[in-house]
Amino acid sequence: MEKVLSRFAAVSTDPYTALTTWKQDTGRKIIGCFPMRIPEEIIHASGMLPVVMWRGNEAVTLGHSYVHNFNCGLTRSFIDDVMKEKLNFMDGMIFYRSCLQAEEIPSTIELNAPPSHFLYLYLPPLYPGIPFRDFLIQELKRMKQRLEEWSGQEITNESLNNSIEIYNKNRSLLKRIYELRKKRPGTIKAREMLAIVHSSMLMDKEEHNSLLESLLPELEGRKELTGDKIRVVLSGGLCQTPHTAILDLIEETGMVVVDDDIYTGSRYFANDVTLGDNPLESLADRYMKKTPPDPTMGDWNTLWTDYMVDKVKENSAKGMVSLLIKYCPPHLCYYPDIRRRFDKEGIPEVLLEVEHEIVSLEQVRTRLQAFIEVIKGGA
């Protein structure tokens, strides 16, 4: 088991080596996808490997000649990696806008260091009205067509449904691991969980599936955690991976993460795709699901705060840790509601503003300790 977990951790912390090796071994192309909304299944069906763009593993230097230092960590660090030529193994990149900063990245790359294949998609928000779904399907068709050109391989309904099945399987396996953690909190550390999900964004899904299958029974056999830990859920962290050091700190200070609402977590594998005769439409239907609510999607009617409160309650958690990426407008604009709602419900919530560069772990520790005091005071 430790072998599987350390493989996942290695991929998550050093995707550069993992992907270069994969490419050498398979001779196949790699396509980077901007996080959160791009249906990877279509890329998979073209025989290429979809990977979700990540926050790099070093401080931003060169990148700051191309992007303002008050952009979020993901966008700054991704540009930095591109400019340092660390991502030359990516044959193609697909972008869309989730926010203004995300909208700036594609042209910065295309004008300065274009990959061989490049696509900018217009993925609509979840506004009510038929034109939105129609346009989404039209964009997915455009995406499919481009991928066929890039790969030289036709994407048939059959191959797409096959990819959907593989992805659904990955989602259901990840869900099972989450269920396990819910039942026996602490048996899987937060940093391990992050590596499990994050590696899924970076690896061939079939390989990931078989690794998960071998991991599951072993995880089930792990010893129960003893001691009195405070149950919490994590939320936020839109496009980027949280720092493992912060996750460790949450646990070191006496809490245990029972569930989460973060992108490199349960948001990634939420909602299966229904198999059917028109797989592109099925993918569109998954895209249009309103939960988990996504603050970049413009859906004013489905309250993200309802979802969060439910998550806390169904997990009998004592509080929620909000991971807010510095300069992330969708989350920043939503946050006042979250604060108000948690106050109203009387559920403790703490805001951790996270950057690509960790400024001070000590400050985070102090905030977490104060949070624990609040929880204990209320208990």
Partner: protein
């Protein structure tokens, strides 16, 4: 001692203040007259106007509010009620204003907005909808959402236009009809477009005068004159305004009168927002070097192609065409922005570029890339000024002064090499 420079003010621009004030006053008092009110981000306010609703325009209101020196007070209300300081300052202004009106917190009277019957979230930028979403959640104000994607490149117009047209026809118009309880007034929309076409055409003639060396007017003057080609759209009095402005510019040009006296030393491209809350302050700083900002991506996005507007035909379709093919919505992206600069820099004899970077708004994309490209393509230097359009807490004046000093030293050193004239 450094040479002293000053702006020769145009007489016509003095006429704009009362027109703008009237607009906001009519909006402020609309409910007293039983009129329906909308708030709108992006350009769909024309649909509200066509239905005789009084409507605000998010960026226009924020500029007005900042210009009226009311921003600080309203931003403070927003932050006191939980808004986070790194969000778009226009977002915070609206959250603060709604809070003030709903809860009776006193604010400067001339900037008060009535709570709307409908919010039109015209999503040119995602933040433009975040404020509407947040107000819905906080106060339950009705929203209609329209996605106005910024075109990544010209070749995308062809498939973006039909989608936007469908949204206007299938989502927005039915909503307007429902809220107003009457059928949509296509004829009124045509009338508005007719006036807009006329005004934008004369405006384009005025813009030609920026090419003249020395230029008879400044971007600050044009900034004051933007309302007729945006939220004062369709008002008949906007036509004589631009006619007067054109006559005054013609006269200055004939007599070789420069907008900067005693001489126009540098011709600058101003990228990004005009700093509405600090316009006088920035104008004074830039003028003190004898520099004249004469073009920019933002002021160039106000219906630059009136020739494409055909008020006789389908008014919705022609409006959409003006937005996309007409390059109203594209300049803020790097690729279309670069094409615009490639045209403007040589044609307008630009010496240098000031990239005004609003810390709380990243709509003017690609600034760093443009800075590099312009230097490479034309040997034109540029600087970024990190500031904000409304929130004074976001920047340091001393840092801006230092940057400007360094920039104009470079321009001075390169003056010999000035290639245009």
């Amino acid at each position: 001692m450094r040479q002293q420079f000053k702006i020769n003010r145009l007489a016509t621009t003095g006429l704009m203040g009362p027109m703008v004030d009237k607009h906001w006053e009519e909006l402020r008092t609309a409910k007293e007259r039983g009129e329906k009110v909308a708030w709108c981000s992006g350009v769909p306010f024309i649909f509200a106007y066509a239905m005789d609703m009084k409507c605000h325009f998010m960026a226009g209101y924020s500029a007005y509010c900042a210009g009226r020196k009311a921003a600080e007070q309203i931003l403070e209300i927003a932050e006191n009620t939980g808004e986070l300081p790194d969000t778009c300052s226009y977002h915070r202004l609206h959250m603060g204003m709604a809070e003030a009106v709903k809860n009776g917190i006193p604010v400067k009277e001339d900037v008060i907005l009535p709570i709307p019957d409908l919010m039109i979230a015209g999503r040119v930028c995602p933040e433009m909808s975040h404020y509407a979403e947040a107000l819905y959640r906080k106060f339950g104000i009705e929203v209609v959402g329209i996605e106005l994607m910024t075109p990544y490149q010209e070749s995308d117009y062809s498939f973006l236009e039909p989608f936007v047209e469908r949204q206007f026809k299938e989502v927005l118009i039915p909503k307007m009809e429902e809220v107003c309880g009457k059928p949509f007034n296509y004829d009124r929309m045509r009338e508005i477009l007719t006036v807009l076409k006329k005004v934008a055409t004369i405006r384009n003639e005025c813009l030609e005068y920026f090419k003249k060396v020395p230029s008879p007017w400044t971007l600050w003057d044009y900034g004051v004159s933007l309302a007729p080609v945006i939220y004062l759209m369709g008002k008949p009095e906007t036509v004589p305004y631009y006619e007067k402005l054109k006559a005054e510019l013609e006269d200055r040009a004939k007599n070789n009168i420069s907008a900067i006296s005693p001489e126009e030393k540098y011709r600058v491209f101003w990228d990004g927002w005009l700093p509405w809350g600090f316009l006088g302050q920035f104008a004074r700083k830039i003028t003190s070097y004898g520099a004249n900002p004469i073009s920019g991506r933002y002021p160039w996005e106000m219906f630059p192609r009136p020739d494409l507007i055909d008020p006789e035909g389908d008014p919705v379709r022609t409006f959409v065409k003006a937005l996309y093919t007409g390059t109203m919505l594209g300049n803020n992206m790097a690729k279309p922005g670069l094409s615009l600069m490639d045209k403007i820099v040589p044609e307008y004899n630009i010496d240098g570029i000031i990239f005004f970077t609003a810390k709380s708004c990243r709509i003017w994309k690609g600034q760093m890339t443009m800075l590099n490209q312009m230097e490479r393509r034309y040997g034109i230097p540029g600087i970024t000024l990190e500031a904000d359009m409304a929130d004074g807490k976001m920047f340091s004046e001393a840092q801006i002064d230092t940057r400007l000093n360094a920039f104009f030293e470079v321009l001075e050193a390169r003056k010999e090499k000035r290639r245009w004239i």
